[in-house]
Symmetry: C2
Subunit: 446 residues, 2 copies
């Protein structure tokens, strides 16, 4: 049997490796358009932050290992342009060898996503960049190395924009950020988003909400970026206004698309064609709490889905319950984490949500290094079940959020969660972990 | 109605405060033998580590606040010696006022625990100390300030011994530790305990297992401590060989005792006398996983139980499911955390346990500051449920353990836990959180 995979990053290479491990006789062909496979895309902002680091540090496993040690037929520089479901074949062009056509028994679409670049004049100027692929990362790093970048504008204030603000800050680049939406991080309570804004502004980063970019032009060796509220004269513009799934070839083959035009898959990762799977940033998922299809492209899901596809095609059926939307990012000295539904998302999903926001401490009250940690919980008035939450603080948010994620997966009520026996020692927590304090306060609202 | 509380630390003052909040008209009398109430006992080693800090930093709420703001009749220096259940009265002696006798409608025994001091010659020498009360902490700190303490011996390698080893290290005191048992931290897999031993030894702290103390004598202005394997000439000896509950007055009144001679209580914190409750380090608890009575005296349980007692006597019945044995401590540069049952405890409880031990990373593979984190999981072969686990690492163990604790409270199988959507960002975790990697490896054993 031949298993063909389009795309050689997280989902694709996870699937390829596991399929070969499960079934060494399976023929596994991976068609990757670029020359990079299996790298930590999420690590790029932190790599860019350090001028002395090699971008290739982010490669988790090299092409050679996949080919020679794992027996995967990995073909780099192969761009798939079309899927012919009738003939069960993919067609495309390869940089060195011209066109190709390869038949499959089972196919995995793991084509990822690409940055949304605003369709404005000047978006192709040399100093205008985006960050998604490792090649994008190299371009940004090379540009920073070759040019005297004193000022930058970041368009978009999602994870990538915020992480890149930190990277620019580390590189001594004076940065402004613009965001089309009137609210920063709209899934957070406003008071929490205000903490993120304050952290950015305290570090000298300009925050401009409700502002889009209109045009970029080259002027006296610099870039003039015209935005809704102001013009910024900078040396670099980073487009981080979101990403969109690479689902065109799937759509072209008549496969169903889901939210955000991601390829729709069931809990076995099957598309609307039973011989074709999709996984990673190009595919959707079910939200565990709502049962609805969502497109929340994150790395863990990509890896998990890649493995599940491999299990499914090698005869060990793997059904994924779905995702909880758990995410964390660091912005300068703050950790920002969330899981489950925001109060607005919960309302839209038909729950009767109640939320709260408490402030607690990251360590015991008198312990050195103790800082404020804010906790937001969302629960359902009727069932008393937890629905979601978020945490912001200088420390202790990133790992604590997982306790809440586990509680959400288990369908716990606030009452049961409050009874959980959590760890306490002064360097790590107050006696009542901030999550327990938040649960206790929530109980008073239910 | 009159609510009398014996003991004014975590459990006692939690109960007093909450009872007054629930029922402002309730008469609440707290009888505390010492002059300290409501302090962070767990913070003492960290306070001792810093010579310039005031020990009173650890007081969470002052006696004056309880008395004047909260209306609690707090009587310091009042030692209860006897409970007369027939007459519903407690008798004792007060430092300034002689004897007293106070009648109660409801009584809470929150007498805490005391260090087990080996019954050996010289255990009362001035340089021989133990650490449980705030007064103990002051004595140690005063001794360190007044004497040129160059070397110390710690007897016992539990939490307090290990935390005090760190404190001595911070104060530049050269330290040896002895432990009667042949194994260090026997609830950890041996490889994990070895990591703790290595950390101690790397920092110059001597570790001597299977060794008890025989005698201490004063010699040339120093202390000669005769132990099973060697004699140590030191300037200070810290007795940290465990604690024992202060349950004598409860036993004297004919109340049932449980494991470790702790006062036996039901899930409503009632002793065998329905008008008498017990909470905190003097009382036992039910282990959530086994349903058995256990004595695991920790601060969160004390606070939680104090609240529950207050709710129960003020008419809002509160039933506590029990404890999970979740605990964490820091020893030098290591975090050590556990929850649930060790493989040996699981076997004794009648499970068919399987355990594993994996090593993962605290951050993404290429992220700066990335360190090794070890994870041990215990699960039941038959039900596939998680039973417990432990983590050791330089970072990320303390908060991660709570995710496992929540899973244990929810009765999750390894399969379900592995499906949990956890947070990922390079500064905080690999794509697969170490707990998920451990769960994945465990699945292969089930």
């Amino acid at each position: 049997m031949r298993f063909v995979i389009i795309g050689g990053d997280a989902a694709g290479m996870s699937a390829a490796s596991r399929a070969k491990r499960n079934a060494p006789d399976l023929e596994v062909i991976v068609l990757e358009a670029t020359t990079d496979v299996s790298y930590s895309a999420c690590g790029m902002p932190y790599n860019i932050a350090q001028s002395e680091r090699d971008m290739n540090d982010l490669v988790v496993r090299h092409a050679k290992v996949f080919k020679e040690k794992q027996g995967i037929d990995l073909r780099l520089g192969h761009t798939v342009e079309k899927i012919d479901r009738g003939r069960k074949a993919v067609m495309g062009s390869a940089s060195e060898w011209g066109t190709f056509e390869i038949e499959y028994d089972r196919l995995l679409i793991a084509t990822g996503a690409r940055p949304l670049i605003p369709d404005i004049p000047g978006n192709d100027l040399p100093g205008v960049k985006a960050l998604k692929s490792l090649e994008d990362g190299r371009r940004i790093k090379d540009y920073l190395a070759a040019n005297d970048v004193k000022q930058a504008l970041i368009v978009g204030m999602g994870y990538i924009g915020l992480e890149m603000a930190e990277a620019f800050h580390a590189r001594g680049v004076c940065t402004d950020m613009i965001e089309m939406r009137p609210r920063l991080l709209p899934y957070l309570p406003e008071e929490m988003a205000a903490l993120v804004r304050k952290e950015l502004e305290d570090k000298g980063i300009g925050v401009h909400l409700g502002a889009g970019i209109k045009a970029v032009e080259s002027r006296d060796g610099r870039l003039a970026a015209q935005c809704d509220q102001a013009e910024f004269t900078v040396d670099m513009v980073l487009m981080a206004a979101g990403i969109t799934p690479n689902s065109e070839i799937a759509a072209g083959a008549g496969l169903d698309l889901g939210p955000g035009k991601a390829v729709a898959v069931d809990r076995f990762l099957r598309t609307s064609d039973p011989d074709i799977y999709a996984a990673g940033d190009c595919a959707d998922a079910f939200h565990v709490l709502t049962g609805s299809r969502v497109w929340i492209p994150l790395a863990l899901r990509a890896n998990r889905a890649g493995w599940a596809v491999a299990d499914n095609i090698t005869g060990s059926p793997a059904e994924l319950p779905g995702i909880m939307g758990t995410a964390v990012f660091k912005v300068l000295d703050l950790e920002v984490a969330r899981t489950g539904l925001s109060v607005e998302e919960a309302r839209q999903a038909g729950f009767d949500p109640v939320e709260n926001l408490i402030q607690s401490r990251s360590r015991a009250h008198s312990h050195p290094g103790n800082t404020t940690i804010s906790v937001n919980l969302v629960s359902d008035q009727k069932s008393r079940k937890l629905l979601g939450g978020a945490m912001v603080g200088k420390e202790g948010a990133a790992h604590r959020i997982n306790s809440l994620a586990v509680a959400l997966h288990a369908g716990m009520t606030v009452d049961d969660f409050f009874q959980c026996d959590m760890a306490y020692a002064p360097p790590f927590s107050p006696v009542w972990d901030p999550l327990l304090t938040a649960a206790n306060q929530m109980l008073k609202k239910l």
